[in-house]
């Protein structure tokens, strides 16, 4: 189930290795995660849940949901979606709660290495990359950390071309934007990049912000900066329906990771829930990967994403069922069917309108919400703003939160687009450099230009909605962020 030919992407696989799942040899390639290799071999069920013994498999594919835990070489609770395969690795299904190995040496105390910079940027997606580039250009020494092995965030999974203006990469594919921005980062000696590094906490340490990081899940690192840009992106929403935990039900992002990052076909026949931009784009990407998309269901009475994305998948024969929802998934150990129904005026399913789709995969594209965990933990004031996708940090016009010196940008500031994420990243990066006292005031002009570009981008009907939300999250001007 590996994709060999793709109209847009090329997959360069590493050395072929053998891993063992429940004792059975499985072919894998270096650079793949365990979950991807198992999926390519047709394995969907990775564990049975601890309390109700329900089959569980992959869901988020980015190490967040913990639905994919397995035992690796005897060690339980390993997140298979972010752990790379190694030749000879023994992988076993996790059965409830596991025992610990008995003979282990205690670890020795070790001081974590501490890296210092003017600005620390957390998150290497469009917002974080732009923040790092502009902070560096404005004169700051920058540390950029990201959880994934490759910079680019969600851009690396996007085969479609971006909207906006050409100076904002309009007409360029997401994967290509990721490559360009990554190159720009690499060109700058002032930026130190740490990939495969998760930020697990933000603390105030004297005058500095201390970011505690963990690299490759095994190494503790400390990053100290005068200021901080949090650009941690978004998380997919889940919706309640019967058997919504059945293996084969994936978040849209997980499907993109499977097929566009690792070249693994997510399934043969798929139903997509949600006709926002993510669902529509996903449908198109699935067709590009050679997967049959049975339908897109959407609870709203109309397509939520851009019309042009809808037209693109419609003319390839994919039905969009507006005013429909998924009632349940069926299947013993994995998805075999999806049952959908039409909705009435009160959002209740209309009896008798049920339709059954024979699918092996269900994609959930029911919206994103900002990843604000670090901001929340750091003490930034948080507010629920529906228009921005959920809870967000309050911030001023330069993206500074209520914690002085902590800036936010991109989807973690409110769900929008990669284009606006890049502009916000630019603003936050320059503002963070200014606040750190390393940038000359002439950079204020660049902030103003980015603010103007944002305003222009948001001037249409889609942007109006976002602007409503931003108003609710915006702190009154005249804080002391004008340093």
């Amino acid at each position: 189930m590996r994709i060999t030919e793709h109209p847009v992407l090329q997959f360069r696989r590493g050395r072929k290795v053998t891993i063992y799942f429940e004792g059975q040899p499985i072919e894998a390639y270096e650079g793949e995660t365990i979950a991807m290799a198992l999926h390519a071999a047709g394995i969907r069920v990775l564990s049975h849940s601890g309390e109700k013994h329900r089959p569980r498999g992959l869901f988020c594919a980015i190490g967040k949901c913990s639905s994919c835990l397995v035992k690796v070489n005897g060690i339980p609770n390993v997140r298979s979606c972010i752990t790379l395969v190694e030749d000879g690795m023994r992988i076993d299904m996790q059965r409830g709660k596991e025992t610990l190995p008995r003979t282990v040496k205690p670890p020795e105390w070790g001081d974590a290495p501490r890296y210092k910079a003017d600005v620390v940027v957390i998150g290497g997606g469009p917002a974080g990359l732009m923040a790092a580039i502009h902070a560096a250009d404005a004169g700051a020494r920058v540390i950029l950390i990201d959880e994934q092995p490759k910079l680019g965030g969600q851009l690396v999974k996007q085969t479609h071309k971006f909207f906006g203006k050409r100076e904002q990469f309009a007409g360029v594919r997401g994967v290509e934007i990721a490559r360009i921005l990554t190159e720009e980062v690499k060109k700058r000696e002032k930026i130190q990049v740490f990939t495969e590094t998760s930020a697990v906490g933000i603390f105030q340490d004297g005058d500095e912000k201390l970011v505690v990081g963990v690299r490759k899940n095994r190494e503790l690192l400390e990053f100290a900066g005068k200021t901080l840009v949090v650009a941690t992106g978004a998380m997919e929403k889940m919706i309640p329906f019967e058997n919504n935990d059945l293996p084969g039900i994936y978040g849209a992002g997980a499907i993109q990771t499977l097929m566009n990052t690792y070249g693994v076909k997510p399934g043969d026949r798929i139903l997509i829930v949600g006709a926002g931009n993510v669902g529509l784009i996903l449908a198109y990407q699935l067709i590009q990967a050679g997967v049959e998309v049975k339908a897109i269901v959407e609870a709203m009475p109309k397509v939520g994403g851009y019309f042009v994305h809808a037209a693109k998948v419609r003319r390839l024969g994919i039905p969009i069922l507006t005013r429909h929802t998924i009632l349940r998934a069926e299947g013993k150990e994995r998805v075999e069917k999806a049952v959908v129904a039409q909705l009435d005026e009160n959002w209740g399913p209309i009896p008798g309108t049920e339709k059954v789709f024979e699918v092996d995969t269900i994609a959930l594209a029911v919206g994103l919400r900002p990843s604000i965990e670090l901001l929340h933990q750091a003490g930034c004031q948080i507010k629920y703003v529906r228009e921005l996708g959920g809870h967000v940090a309050l911030r001023d016009e330069r993206m500074e939160t209520t914690v002085q010196g902590i800036f936010v940008a991109g989807d973690s500031a409110g769900i929008e687009e990669a284009t606006t994420a890049m502009l916000e990243g630019k603003i936050a990066g320059i503002a963070a450099a200014l606040k750190a006292g390393v940038a000359s005031p002439k950079w204020l002009k660049e902030i103003e230009k980015a603010q103007h570009d944002l305003e222009e981008f948001r001037s249409g009907p889609f942007g109006k909605h976002v602007i409503e939300g931003i108003k609710k999250a915006l702190l009154p001007a005249g804080g002391d962020s004008n340093a």
Binding site: G50, I75, P76, N77, K97, E98, T99, L100, P101, R102, V104, K105, P106, P107, W109, G201, F203, L210, V212, G379
Partner: protein, 386 residues
């Protein structure tokens, strides 16, 4: 089910719906008294639901040993009657040198005197009890199999439920704002939901006790200060992996055990205060990891899921202040538990109910005399974990 309706009057009103306030209400109601608990948020939400779950009799003074012996009897009795989990899985103190062993021998003698069956065991015996232990540096252990642990959520909920069955009123989401006092007599309390007439008030607000005392205009010096005490919980592992509460003074005053759900829970002696700040810290995260893995090396592969903080409401001698404050009639305090409130609660409830209803108690309440601070008669420091 606790209510949000404030009664017009109540003979006795307890401020604070933690385990201490709830068990006092339970005991008083059981004795037929009219009693109301007023809780700012929900039952147990202050420090009770943040506690480390342990219940031990291994103290180093006669009073605490006696009180805890009674408390364990009550924990056992009520867990059986009310059906909440209380397990006598023991407390295991790991000892690493002769000085420690000598100290614990003295403690064990006191405990044995009152019938608490603590004994000194060998490192190998300790490893039989917790096979995951690293005993390479351990020279002996103090082991009492009758100590135990209980779920703070389920036990407090059951005490609350039965207190109500006996007629107690538990009022949640209601904050006491002021005392109504006339000629040194309590007439009532002003709350965020109106006024309640009451004659007897028990301050069971532990970490907030000094604020409550101030509200009552108490001038007696009762130094109770909130300290941030942090705890950690890991991903669950197979049940029975760490049955008793394991203590190591050598390694950071650490205590750890396994919850009913399977996670390893515990803390270390890293403490900050006085403060009302409850933000967990990096220092704690590192220290707890280091000390826990020193005690049980296999924990190094285990994921920490969460940290949180609660208050140790500390007094200078780590013993609580329990008793009547004479400058105001009728005002009682049961606070300053210094990390022992959960384990002591059922016995404290009996003690306070005795004092209110009979004016005397068979339990050694004198040890906790709230006036001892003012008189400069501090007790021997109670053996405090974490």
């Amino acid at each position: 089910m606790p209510t949000r309706e404030l009664p017009k009057k109540s003979e006795i009103t307890i401020i604070g719906g933690g385990i201490v306030g709830v068990t006092i209400a339970h005991e008083l109601a059981k004795r037929g008294e009219e009693v109301t608990v007023i809780e700012k948020r929900f039952i147990g939400s202050g420090s009770t639901f943040r506690c480390g779950t342990g219940i031990r009799q291994q103290f180093n003074d006669e009073a605490n040993v006696q009180v805890m012996k009674r408390s364990v009897e009550l924990w056992k009795k009520y867990s059986e009657e009310y059906g909440f989990p209380f397990q006598q899985t023991g407390y295991l103190f790991l000892l690493y040198d002769d000085d420690e062993v000598e100290t614990f021998k003295r403690n064990i003698a006191i405990q044995n005197k009152f019938g608490v069956p603590t004994r000194l065991i060998t490192p190998e015996e300790a490893k039989e009890i917790v096979p995951l232990l690293d005993i390479s540096e351990v020279v002996a252990a103090s082991w009492n199999p009758t100590d135990g642990k209980a779920s703070p959520f389920h036990s407090t909920a059951k005490f609350a439920l039965h207190a109500e069955e006996f007629g107690a009123k538990l009022v949640e989401y209601t904050e006491v704002k002021d005392f109504i006092i006339e000629n040194g007599e309590i007439k009532g309390l002003k709350t965020s939901r109106g006024t309640i007439k009451t004659g007897i008030v028990v301050n069971a607000t532990n970490a907030w006790a000094k604020l409550t005392n101030a509200m009552a205009g108490i001038r007696t010096k009762i130094p109770i200060e909130p300290y941030k005490h942090q705890a950690v919980i890991t991903q669950p592992i197979k049940k029975g992996s760490v049955k008793p509460m394991v203590i190591s003074f050598r390694y950071g005053h650490a205590y750890l055990t396994q919850t009913a759900h399977g996670g390893i829970i515990g803390g270390v002696g890293y403490e900050e205060g006085p403060t009302y700040d409850l933000n967990p810290t990096y220092e704690f995260l590192r220290e707890v990891s280091y000390y826990f893995t020193k005690i049980i090396p296999a924990l190094r592969e285990l994921l920490i899921l969460r940290t949180w903080a609660g208050y140790y409401a500390k007094t200078p001698d780590s013993n609580p202040a329990i008793g009547k404050i004479e400058e105001l009639s009728d005002y009682y305090i049961a606070a300053g538990f210094s990390g022992h409130g959960f384990m002591m609660a059922p016995a404290v409830a009996e003690m306070v109910a005795d004092l209110i209803t009979k004016g005397r108690t068979d339990l050694p309440a004198w040890w906790y005399d709230p006036y001892r601070f003012e008189r400069g008669e501090l007790r021997g420091k109670a053996l405090q974990m974490g």
